[in-house]
Amino acid sequence: MFKTDIASGAVATLSTANYFAGLDAATLDAIARTAIQRDYEVDQVIFLEGKPCAGLHIVQKGWLKSFKASPAGREQIIRVVGPGEVFNEACVFAGGSNRATAVALERATVWVISRERMLRLIDEYPALSRLVIQDLAQRVLHLLDLVEDLSLRTVEARLARLLLEQSAEGVLQRHYWTTQAEIASQLGTVPNVLNRALRNLVEEGLIRMERHQIQILNYKGLKAKAILSE
């Protein structure tokens, strides 16, 4: 049985973390029993990138940074985490080694649940599983939105450039015909993304889709968009 002050510290910390919020007291207590408390001084390393998975970490007190070493040897900070936040979950659930290095920015107290224990807890407590799945699913959705947005912005700029390069003034004797699949391929994307980019340009009043014609309505505006590129 835990000493009261340690138990209450673990339970209080766990109950503030996404994964564990809303779990009943008995479940929280059972989970708290598997956690190990660790204290760190300023600049102390909590775990290293590439080393065997150090387990799930939940911050009780203090702030830490997690970063990856860039090829040039500089730090690329991934996250700054504070009280109540969970980190290093990637290797716990996906397997493999620590994806980043974590270092204390100030004196910190952290609770650690090993990978093996965490996986056993998920088997034993469906409510915990559901919370973990929900959290991961939300992150996936956020990343999907981000990826879509990033790739769409690049596509729009390149599409603007392509339209300007391939446009003819008014009606010419010789017409160049293309398909959306061909345009998408030239831009290094897929028709769905191209469609969205075309719709965005239409909404901004830069082009008009008139049956089989992609009409450029605003040359300067489209040129400005083409310059804002990768």
């Binding site: 339209l163 300007l164 390069e165 391939q166 446009s167 003819a168 003034e169 008014g170 009606v171 017409h175 160049y176 015909w177 293309t178 398909t179 959306q180 699949a181 345009i183 008009r208 049956r211 089989h212 014609q213 992609i214 009409q215 450029i216 309505l217 605003n218 040359y219 300067k220």
Partner: protein, 82 residues
């Protein structure tokens, strides 16, 4: 780039590649203007004048046998050329 014939240039309709068409008939069913019909197991355009270039046939075709042709036209008189 593709070359379109004069008929196509006036009022183009989606081009159907008979080699890719698998005769599923989805394009016929999805077209809101009844432009397409099945003929000997292949989709063909039978009412070109009704085609509004909506593109549902192109989107739904599982073998990418249907493609709409587009031309890119500069209408902005203020431009001094591409």
């Amino acid at each position: 780039m593709l070359q379109a014939n004069q008929q196509q240039e006036r009022r183009p309709v989606p081009l159907i590649d008979p080699a890719r068409c698998n005769g599923c008939g989805l394009c016929v069913r999805v077209c809101p203007h009844n432009v397409l019909e099945m003929n000997s197991g292949t989709a063909v355009v039978v009412r070109p004048e009704a085609c509004e270039y909506v593109g549902l046939c192109e989107a739904i075709c599982p073998t990418k046998a249907i493609q709409r042709l587009f031309e890119i036209v500069m209408l902005d008189a203020a431009s001094d050329g591409p």
